[in-house]
């Protein structure tokens, strides 16, 4: 078996396709690294500016009073850019980088509500009129280019030998057929892995030369996983190539079939299926959203109208006002969350449908291990929600410690007047955890492995039964 693999490898190393693949992959990976080195510092800078921005904001309000702190809050919360952004861009251009928590609602000139979260409904990237292009990340290089290369390496593995008559020669020796097949598979795997590994190493070398972008141990671990996923995905297409190559008599026909299968599977299926999914489980339309919004507010207003808007500021009015403000925030946030959840569900649905295409699987996997894309966005949203709870608890607790306060959150007369130490105010920190990623992604990994197994055993069955 090793002998066959070795022979295949030597054959491939001298071939034109090996040279072209090396050049193509190297060019792509170098471009990727250069673009990353150019763009990433900007992203990090933007995030750092935002972090200092809301730290300053919190500190300045904390120095004023607890009331202002609760009212103004930390402002917009920003998503931390992933150091592995070059692995998978993950549609970040279309995902909002912030959870908005802009200015609080103004009821009137002297009455302002409290800080609340809202999720931007607008699509960013409206300003950009440059032509559309797929982002040149590892996801593209692996998903599109590597799969094509894998097919080009295996389309003639069996049919080519049969055409030349060497297959009969080989099988005349006492080698079992599965050994031949596995040898061919391993030979192709190694010969595609060589240029791929080379280009990946050069890519990482270029990226790690920049001292600003330090990849920590965890990032390297993730890169290792991504590399393994790439190999798995590559084997899928190698197995497909072998399968078709055994069934077809001429290598040219085999390539035609493989290319058309590739085009359908990789290029069209994710797009077409994605456009179809818009039909199912529609999200909340803006008209419906505003209808519910108005309805909720009307109910709330009716309930509190007579108590909140009186001019005297006795304890009853103040309590009602505090209740009104906090209910307002709760209702708003809940409605926003409802809409967000519907949107998330619809998109999840779409993603699970396009999972039929292996390229979609591999791109989802890369996204989640690189810490970008949709799942990461969900994690970020969860982080902001947790932080918002934490922040509110902090406000309540601090207020409770002040004996002079009337413990009515959200209104000036009802809260502690004293300034708060800026150091004690909780800071928002955006984190991402690998273990969680792995659980959500295990299914996709298994699916990918399943595809490989099915195709490999298909190729085996076909090869065993084929007449030479």
């Amino acid at each position: 078996m090793w002998h066959i693999a070795k022979r295949e490898l030597y054959d491939n190393l001298n071939s034109l396709r090996f040279a072209l693949t090396t050049v193509l992959l190297l060019a792509l990976m170098l471009t990727n690294a250069i673009v990353h080195l150019r763009e990433h510092p900007k992203r990090v800078q933007k995030y750092n500016d935002a972090v200092t921005g809301y730290e300053n904001r919190l500190a300045s309000y904390a120095n004023e009073s607890l009331y202002l702190l609760a009212q103004q809050g930390p402002g917009d919360l920003h998503k931390k850019p992933s150091p592995l952004h070059f692995c998978a861009e993950g549609g970040d251009a279309f995902l909002s980088g912030t959870v908005n928590a802009g200015d609080p609602f103004m009821y009137s000139a002297d009455m302002t509500g409290v800080w609340k979260l809202s999720y931007p409904a607008v699509t960013p990237n409206l300003e950009n009129v440059r032509p559309d292009a797929i982002k040149l990340d590892w996801g593209f290089i692996i998903g599109y280019v590597l799969s094509l290369v894998a097919l080009l390496f295996t389309f003639d593995a069996i049919s080519g030998e049969r055409e030349r008559g060497t297959l009969r020669l080989m099988l005349a020796n006492s080698i079992p057929r599965h050994t031949v097949l596995i040898g061919k598979f391993l030979g192709a795997l190694i010969s595609v892995s060589i240029p791929f590994t080379l280009s990946v190493l050069i890519n990482l070398l270029v990226i790690s030369t920049d001292s600003d972008l330090h990849l920590n141990a965890e990032a390297w671990e993730r890169l290792g996983i991504i590399f393994c996923i790439a190999l798995l995905y590559m084997s899928l297409f190698l197995a497909l190539g072998l399968l078709v190559s055994t069934r077809v008599r001429q290598s040219a026909v085999s390539l035609v079939i493989l290319l058309l299968v590739w085009v359908t599977l990789v290029v069209f299926m994710p797009n077409t299926l994605a456009s179809m999914t818009g039909e199912f489980s529609p999200s909340m339309l803006s008209g419906e959203f505003w209808k519910r919004y108005r309805q909720l507010h009307q109910e709330l207003d009716e309930k509190y109208e007579d108590r909140v808007w009186s001019d005297n500021s006795d304890i009853k009015t103040l309590t009602a006002r505090s209740e009104y403000f906090s209910l307002h925030v709760v209702l708003d946030e809940r409605l926003n969350e409802d809409r967000l959840n519907l949107q998330i569900n619809q998109f999840r649905h779409a993603r699970s449908i396009i999972r039929v295409s292996p390229v979609a699987i591999v791109q989802h996997l890369l996204e989640s291990f690189a810490g970008t894309g949709f799942e990461r966005h969900l994690q970020f949203i969860e982080n902001t929600q947790r932080y918002a709870r934490h922040f509110r608890e902090f406000v309540v607790d601090t207020d409770r410690k002040d004996p002079k306060s009337r413990h009515l959150i959200g209104i000036r007369e009802g809260m502690a007047e004293k300034p708060v130490s800026p150091a004690s105010v909780p800071k928002f920190e955006d984190t991402l955890s690998l273990s969680k990623d792995f659980n959500t992604r295990a299914m996709e990994l298994l699916l990918l492995t399943l595809f490989v197994m099915v195709l490999l055993s298909g190729a085996y069955l076909a090869f065993v039964r084929v007449e030479v």
């Binding site: 673009v35 409206l126 009129v129 440059r130 032509p131 280019v145 040219a252 994605a274 818009g278 396009i354």
Partner: protein, 501 residues
């Protein structure tokens, strides 16, 4: 000659790859057209509800100063052929006399799930880009190298046929073979389109589709000729095939995406933006000084136009809108006041005078801002796109995409046409205001005497640009495609004539 063509044609038609080609093109085009039609219907429905909604907004405003004129960009039916920027860019814009609307002020009406934008959209040109080029190469790679390998080339050349004739015969027959599935699938797509009730295609649209067909044929021919060139230069079919596949991967898959990632605008846009923003801010500060000056000189107003008006109900607002990223800066004010408590008509007249003075001043400042803003917007957003397009033209795929976008009217120019129409609409609204002396009227800020009848306002209408303009925009790229065809053919001829058999 004819015998040659006939022989080649029969050879090609009987092959397995021809069957597969027909099948794949049919499958992809028909399935995607059905999906695209559904998608278009959805967008059209969204557009209709938005238009209805904007009518409601309009009728809700009771005074001229608070009327909100929303304009919604209808989806282009030809976006099925090439989506271009039609789907991605903003489609809802607010027309306000104090600000000149552009593409960058538009927003996206939120009837759609923003997450769905991550999933890339597809169109018929995209299918053709990938599949037609691939098929052309698959048909071409062995035309010459294959005959050479089998030795039939020598046989053919022993007859008194010129080499040019052989090339021409091969080219014509293969193109016929490729055109059959292409044109048939396009016609099928058209049949699907015309049976769908939501599409009303005009004569001009059919001509545009005809233009897209011409571009597709030229594109197909470019890739067939590339394949033939490779085939004429190599001795073995397997080498020719390998080279063709890598050329395809590079030209179609890698290059268009790589170049957009690599190119970046050379000048630092942030500084340019900041200085322009400062300039615009100064314009509005000067405006604000003049406004304040007027308010202080008119003793009846005492700094606040509505302050001395004893009014019962209603509201007024004023603020400066400031969005640095697209240099959006304007003064927005309005009032909707109901019945004055006691009839102090002289005071009302003063407020009317104030508006007679103020609104032209706002319009002036807006024009002034526009003169600063326009070149900067061009430089910040349009210039990078133009540079990208120049680089994209190095690949036939890029040329084809740009040409069909221009024909379908979904390129930047096509979208800008809409916003030019919106700007003209704003001008006509202002002209109407001047004509009726609306600024100086009581209805500008109050509706105690009479509410505004918004039906008399000019209505917005937009016609996509004339076909001649579309063709003019697409013509350079179409010519470029044709030129590549001719150059390639000459190249093949030269290589083939010199070749030893």
């Amino acid at each position: 000659m004819m015998t040659l063509i006939r022989r080649e044609l029969l050879d090609n038609l009987m092959t397995f790859r021809f069957a597969v080609a027909v099948f794949i093109i049919f499958l992809l085009v028909v399935a995607n057209t059905a999906v695209l039609i559904k998608d278009h219907e959805r967008r059209l429905a969204g557009h209709k509800t938005e238009v209805q909604k904007s009518r409601n907004y309009m009728s809700e405003g009771k005074t001229y100063s608070v009327i909100e004129l929303h304009v919604d960009r209808p989806p282009n039916p030809l976006s099925i052929f090439n989506t271009g920027l039609d789907k991605r860019l903003g489609n809802e814009i607010w027309v306000y006399y104090g600000h000149i609307p552009t593409l960058w002020d538009a927003e996206k009406h939120s009837s759609q799930n923003p997450f769905m934008n991550i999933l890339s959209s597809i169109d018929i040109v995209f299918i053709f880009q990938g599949v037609l080029s691939l098929l052309a190469l698959i048909f071409a790679y062995d035309t010459l190298a294959g005959e050479y390998e089998r030795g039939t080339l020598r046989l053919v050349l022993t007859h008194s046929v010129s080499r040019g004739h052989i090339l021409l015969a091969k080219y014509i027959s293969a193109m016929v073979c490729l055109l059959v599935p292409t044109l048939m699938s396009l016609i099928l797509a058209l049949i699907l389109l015309t049976t769908s009730p939501s599409f009303s295609l005009s004569m001009q649209d059919f001509l545009r589709i005809g233009g897209i067909m011409v571009a597709s044929i030229a594109y197909l021919s470019v890739f067939y000729l590339i394949g033939m060139l490779i085939s004429s230069m190599t001795r073995r079919t397997s080498t020719a095939l390998m080279l063709s596949m890598f050329v395809w991967g590079f030209l179609v898959l890698v290059y268009p995406n790589m170049i957009v990632a690599v190119i970046q605008p050379s000048n630092p846009p942030e500084e340019r933006k900041a200085s322009a923003h400062n300039h615009i801010k100064q314009i509005w500060e000067a405006f604000e000084r003049e406004r304040k000056h007027y308010l202080t000189t008119d003793t009846h107003l005492e700094g606040d136009p509505y302050g001395n008006l004893p009014w019962r109900d209603g509201y007024n607002f004023e603020h400066f809108q400031d969005k640095v990223s697209v240099l959006q800066y304007y003064y927005h004010a309005g009032a909707e006041i109901d019945g004055f408590r006691e009839a102090r008509e002289s005071q009302v007249l003063h407020v009317q005078d104030y508006h007679r003075f103020l609104v032209p001043l706002i319009i002036d400042a807006a024009e002034h801002t526009w003169r600063v803003r326009k070149p900067v917007l061009e430089e910040l957003f349009v210039l990078p796109a133009t540079i990208d397009k120049i680089w994209l033209r190095l690949s036939p795929t890029g040329i084809y995409d740009i040409a069909t976008q221009a024909l379908a009217g979904t390129d930047l120019n096509g979208i800008q046409d809409f916003f030019t129409a919106v700007q003209q609409y704003r001008q006509s609204v202002i002209d109407y205001y001047y004509d009726k002396k609306v600024f100086a009227s009581r209805e500008w800020f109050s509706f105690d005497k009479a509410a505004v009848d918004w039906r008399t306002l000019p209505q917005f209408s937009f016609q996509r640009s004339d076909i001649s303009i579309n063709v003019k925009r697409a013509l350079p790229d179409l010519f470029l495609l044709l030129m590549i065809n001719i150059v390639l053919f000459i190249g093949i001829f030269l290589v083939f004539v010199r070749r030893e058999v």
